[in-house]
Symmetry: C2
Subunit: 352 residues, 2 copies
């Protein structure tokens, strides 16, 4: 299609960028040895005291997976930076001397992230920038730039840069230490492009699922472990593209309170793959049935309406995330919304 | 009222426990010198490398304020523990040797929290237990027990134990280092019982605000800095007690995507006090007006429909939290729900 034709189909750009994901991921898998070697070289001789992630929005969800991967791979303490401590309250992050800071921004131009990365570097942290623009201000502020090389992303809802970030962070974790109980190997990472392609090849399931959602104005998206970041990201994608009040929850939190929001008019999307945290999510079905809440199941169970291949590792966060993208796209189209340009949103986050 | 009479009025227990908050907080202020001295003694000679918080649900929101307070007071790295890394994936938290772990559970009996506190202690972390039961398993697993002494909490929605946790964590932060740019002094803490009493003395504002909410099934609750934990907690309290799909957001995240969920049918509750992060939240009003979303403003601005006294410190998290409690109680009553016993919820979180 030409650019003009693309613009005429609601969500055509988002869809095209979603379908570039297997290629973007395959290129990252090819770069896996180089990426892990660069991270290893950055920390050689002085292992970090901990790893902090700095991000907002979708990037924050990628950071959450990065955090799991680093802790599983290395046992190091990790945290997601609370930006307001420095930007609103003016605290110098001097306690992060000797830490590794992984700063994420798809554009590499989010002013708050660039500013904070500089403050952490000045305080003695080594900084890795994960961005889609290796020439961006964020990349320039870092000791090591990990460009996603995903190509331009034009649609407002970030898709290929998000799964790119997820895989790049798994590579960063891989460079930080010996294989642990849950970090990914290159061989495991190599299974992801095909797994994501298989999910993308099945758009019909997402269209059927969107039919269930389209009559509702609120829903829960629930997952644990590798599926927890995907639940938060899928909820955000649904919010941005459809205006649905989708709320992401950790399975453990959801069961003990927020489940009260689900009922006949408020469905739940459960994300549950083949990891050790997923049985807990499948167990929610009985409680949701008792509340007569419609349930959409995504994952590796035979009865999942939105399926993905069982991988048995953290990479299922990516397949789950792509299922959420498809659902957001299909639901927006049903509602007559163009997800390429949702009202009132901009591509670059200008928080300061 | 007798116990029988209390049981006959929907939310009577929750309301009674809410009104005990000034007394509970005043007792904690009296204990401030002892609490900070105990924390200082625990860390004397071996300052922690960082401070991790372990919690679920409402306690997790208290932990978020604790995190801000510790970073502002000490500059130390802080994190909220991701429980699944250990409980689902089986990773030993050996990287937390030399850290301080602050474990929170209102009952002190949440099995996942007790188990994890023991694992962190075994890995070489010093553990502080913040709980309402100094004889609980969690208190027994800790090197230092900080009992809230809030008295029995019977209503399912936690209220006085949450504000008790918030103040206890401000005291823990106070014991960890010299006064920084934002941690609380005892004198500042001493302003809180009266500020909370003033909020509780004005239930009418909350009843008027509940009138605005009662026709809606979804809403956003937004805040930044000290008001961010209060936004998450208020959203949870509304979810639990009313079934409303209330979603808490950080102001910075909300503006750049999730604001798409607000409109004529989906109001926003803005929490904005007198701290340095709050102007950003007030600024959202223009964008929400452009979306024709009803706005409830809570805070210290003269036009706030739900007001609290300007304190100029992190303690405004407590006044904001109490406004959220009032709104949840009043909205539940309007909807004919008994918030003392919302359907399907239990008092002790049994996540394992």
């Amino acid at each position: 299609m030409t650019t003009t034709q693309l613009a005429a189909v609601p969500g055509a750009r988002m869809e095209a960028e979603m379908h570039q994901q297997p290629e973007v991921l395959a290129a990252l898998v090819d770069r896996w040895p180089a990426l892990t070697a660069q991270v290893a070289a950055l920390t050689e001789g002085a292992p970090p005291l901990g790893v902090a992630f700095l991000a907002r929005g979708s990037s924050d969800h990628a950071a959450l997976l990065g955090r799991y991967a680093v802790e599983l791979q290395t046992g190091l303490p990790t945290c997601l930076v609370a930006p307001s401590v420095a930007t609103a309250y003016g605290r110098v992050p001097e306690g992060f001397r000797g830490w590794l800071l992984v700063a994420l921004s798809q554009s590499g131009r989010t002013p708050e992230i660039v500013d904070l990365a500089r403050r952490y570097a000045a305080a003695g942290a080594r900084v890795i920038a994960v961005t889609n623009d290796g020439g961006s201000a964020l990349a320039g502020a870092a000791h090591l730039s990990v460009p996603l090389e995903a190509g331009p992303e034009v649609a407002v809802p970030a898709t290929k840069t998000v799964t790119g970030q997820l895989l790049a962070l798994l590579a960063v974790a891989g460079g930080l230490g010996p294989a642990g109980s849950g970090g990914l190997t290159q061989a495991q990472a190599a299974s992801l492009p095909d797994a994501v392609a298989r999910v993308l090849g099945d758009g019909e399931s997402a269209e059927r699922a969107a039919g269930l959602l389209a009559g509702h104005d609120r829903m829960a998206v629930v997952g644990r472990g590798a599926c927890y970041p995907a639940a938060l990201e899928s909820a955000l994608k649904l919010q941005e593209t459809t205006g649905l009040m989708a709320h992401g929850f950790s399975t453990a939190d959801f069961r003990h309170g927020p489940i009260a929001v689900c009922g006949p008019d408020a469905p739940a999307l459960l994300l549950a793959g083949s990891g050790p945290a997923d049985a807990d999510t499948l167990d929610l079905r009985a409680a949701l049935a008792a509340r007569r809440a419609p349930v959409l199941l995504a994952g590796t169970a035979p009865e999942a309406g939105l399926s993905w291949p069982a991988l048995g590792h953290l990479g299922e966060c990516l397949t789950a995330t792509v299922r959420g993208q498809q659902l957001a796209l299909a639901t927006a189209r049903r509602l007559g919304i163009d997800p390429d340009r949702p009202t009132g949103l901009n591509k670059i986050t200008m928080t300061s």
